[in-house]
């Protein structure tokens, strides 16, 4: 917990915090990092293989192969999510399966499945981006800010 938050607590609460922390099972950070590296790496290798597949067997260049590759990866992640496998991989892999685009696909489809019982419009439609919505919003906003910085730097900065 952040230090600022801790300051608001009474001395008794702070004492209990330390007491409880000592007995808490720690997150195995090193193990989590290794797992995330391996699984994340494997996902990327699969993505690279699909990318080559599109370049060799279809009329794609290295630049244009990106879009069908992402679509395929998201599709695969949706299948795995629907079969109930992705969340199990994720418990093992952590950031390794959350950071790649497959994790984004999982966030969307899991919410869509979850809210299916509330109907297509108010359930699936309005809840599908419950988790992924903030990624889209802040991703777009960050891209806008970066583009603004770049424009200012090239136009007036003389770069």
């Amino acid at each position: 917990m952040a230090n600022e938050k801790r300051k608001k607590l009474t001395p008794v609460q702070q004492e209990y915090h330390l007491f409880e922390k000592e007995r808490e099972t720690k997150r195995p950070i090193v193990r989590n990092c290794v797992c995330a590296f391996l699984v994340g790496g494997i996902i990327c290798v699969i993505g690279q293989a699909i990318s080559y597949f599109y370049m060799y067997f279809f009329d794609f260049t290295e630049q244009t192969a990106g879009n069908p590759t992402v679509a395929t990866m998201v599709f695969l992640s949706m299948i795995l999510t629907g079969l109930g496998v992705y969340d199990r991989i994720a418990q093992f892999a952590g950031a390794g399966s959350a950071v790649p685009v497959t994790g984004f696909g999982n966030a969307v489809i899991s919410a869509a499945i979850e809210h299916r019982t509330e109907g297509f419009v108010l359930g699936v439609g309005s809840n599908m981006f419950k988790l992924a919505g903030s990624v889209i919003l802040f991703g777009t906003f960050a891209a806008f800010v970066i583009a603004l910085v770049k424009t200012i730097a090239t136009q007036w900065g003389g770069l």
């Binding site: 702070q14 007995r23 999510t81």
Partner: protein
């Protein structure tokens, strides 16, 4: 009769004449599978939504208990129960099916003992002959409301717990001459030690359990060794250790073997439940399914069931509130004179 500050002693010792426990697929693979009356291999229970499946769990447990007690539902005067879902719709809807006069109670995961304490109080003073009480939870419905979608790939920390799918109910009666008897109940107060991590409920709830156990022993002027078993609701591995150490720090000598947690009894070691089980059904199915059966077999004479509840909502957590917790204790005895 009030004894001490917040303990009720029931002079007429209402009996628990019948109990029933219903579970889901995860519970069927657990350690206590044999103690359930009914186990489902599918989380959906053949219903269209998890919330409807949740309602069915309660209904099935209620009908099982009434069948065992040999009671028509018209004979049962009150139904006192609760769950974790918004506005408690599963229990409310089950009450619609049952058609009994109904009191919905919410104490998060402490609902089971809150209901039992109230039922015992009412029957003790002649307010009813038979009361049906219980608590339930459904893993997927609870996950959906409190955490992420079921299939969402988020890594849970080792302090997280697994919500039990199931329902546990008991029929409390002033008339029964057979069965374990409710002798006392201590009502908990809300304790907030400033923990805010919803993936570490055990750590947050431990002080509430300790507070209630201490109050119970002080009010009753008894020693912890009076009970064959003091069982907490769903503290899990971390909460149990923390509460055990806290009790010892407060000078209450307690035998580790006789201090168990429902959240650790229900599943096998290999099951991926991280720190243990939780949920309103956790204490309900373990006490009403497993422990009452052990009492009937004569393995346990006196138990103190301390159901622990974390009174948070997804909203309060997002608004950076800490987690207030509560614990209610009920003493159940078997084999003594009525």
């Amino acid at each position: 009769m009030l004894k001490g500050h917040r303990t009720w002693v029931f002079a007429n010792k209402p009996a628990i004449i019948a109990t029933a426990a219903v579970g889901g697929p995860f519970e069927a693979n657990g350690r206590l599978a044999d103690d359930f009356d009914l186990l489902h291999e599918d989380l959906w229970l053949g219903e269209e939504s998890y919330e409807k499946a949740h309602r069915v769990l309660i209904e099935e447990a209620a009908f099982q208990a009434m069948e065992k007690a040999g009671l028509e539902k018209e004979k049962v005067q009150f139904f006192i129960a609760g769950d974790l879902i918004n506005q408690m719709t599963p229990t409310n809807f089950a009450a619609r099916t049952l058609g009994m006069p109904y009191l919905g109670v919410f104490g998060a995961c402490s609902t089971s003992m809150e209901g039992l304490a109230l039922s015992a109080f009412i029957t003790n003073y002649g307010g009813a002959d038979y009361i049906l009480t219980g608590a339930s939870s459904h893993n997927a419905a609870v996950e959906k409301q409190f955490r992420y979608p079921t299939e969402y790939g988020g890594q849970k920390p080792p302090t997280a717990q697994w919500t039990v799918t199931g329902a546990g109910v008991a029929i409390v009666s002033s008339k029964g001459d057979d069965g374990p008897r409710v002798t006392a109940a201590t009502i908990g107060r809300v304790v907030d030690m400033g923990l805010a991590d919803p993936f570490n409920m055990g750590g947050a709830m431990a002080p509430a359990a300790v507070d209630t156990i201490e109050a119970h022993l002080r009010d009753m002027q008894i020693d912890a060794s009076y009970y064959d078993l003091i069982v907490t609701g769903d503290l899990g591995r971390i909460g149990r250790q923390v509460s055990l150490d806290l009790l010892r720090q407060h000078g209450i000598d307690i035998d580790e073997e006789r201090y168990q947690d429902c959240g650790l009894l229900i599943y096998r070691d290999g099951q991926p439940v991280l720190s243990g089980a939780s949920g309103a059904a956790c204490s309900a199915v373990v006490v009403y399914g497993h422990l009452i059966k052990r009492m009937r077999r004569g393995e346990l004479k006196r138990i103190l069931a301390v159901a622990t509840g974390a009174l948070l909502s997804p909203l309060s957590f997002q608004q950076n509130e800490t987690i207030p917790c509560i614990a209610h204790a009920v003493a159940i005895e078997y084999g003594g004179e009525a």
